[in-house]
Amino acid sequence: MANDKAQGVEGDLLVILRHGPHGTSWLREGLDAALVAAAFGRKVTLLFMGEGITALVPGQTSGPLGQKGTAPTLEMLEMYDIDTLLVEAEALERFGLTVEGLMLPVRAVAASQLPAVTADHSLVLTF
């Protein structure tokens, strides 16, 4: 269920991640932007939307392509003080996932709340 507390999430940078962890480099390059911003002391919020929420499914490894995968990067987020992770509630339902079943603590946000979330960030980057 969506959480009303999503209103009031604010920061310098909102990174919206809309691609799954495998198949393209969108997710990795989006996370890179988030990590750099955090390293420069910016307050960063991540929003996983659509297929992007599959990045948070536990137990993923790098696989035969030799790519590093994104799970290790996601596990590092806390070290970079990126602790506001939002997921699109509708996407959770569509993919048959639950907040409790994801690899990191996240907050589900209803689509109707997303305009407020984007408005409360100075910069939005979508990957």
Partner: protein, 130 residues
């Protein structure tokens, strides 16, 4: 207003690069200030100095260079995204022992920090992607 552009689409693969360049031209034509163009993801291919499209098609690489030369718009290419895609300036080519280089001024290799500076300092950052 003060604008910046983030381009993440490769030239000739999608409409993104064409639209971004036309938008850039429209901005300066209307008297707005374009503070910079940042090339990330597959957008870094827009900086390929060896691009040789058919003569009856718009030359996007030359188009960006002309924009920079005429209006002083910085063309900033993410170094991490560029290097792994084979886009190196002379300095990086030498550093990695490569015989040729594929990026030249006015394009410049830079870090993602520049994208954040651009985005946070301008009135609008407009993203073009596939």
């Amino acid at each position: 207003m003060r604008y910046a552009i983030l381009l993440m689409g490769a030239p000739y693969s999608s409409q993104a690069a064409h639209s971004a360049l036309r938008f850039a031209r429209a901005l300066v034509g209307r008297g707005h200030r374009l503070e910079g163009v940042f090339f990330y993801h597959d957008g870094v291919h827009n900086a390929a100095r060896l691009a040789a499209p058919p003569q009856d098609e718009p030359h996007l690489v030359d188009g960006w260079a002309a924009l920079a030369n005429e209006h002083g718009v910085p063309l900033q290419v993410c170094i991490a995204a560029a290097l792994r895609r084979g886009l190196l300036d002379e300095r990086e080519a030498a550093r990695h022992g490569k015989q040729g280089h594929s990026i030249e001024p006015p394009f410049e290799l830079t870090g993602l920090g520049q994208l954040l500076d651009l985005g946070l300092s301008c009135d609008r950052l407009v993203t073009f992607g596939p």
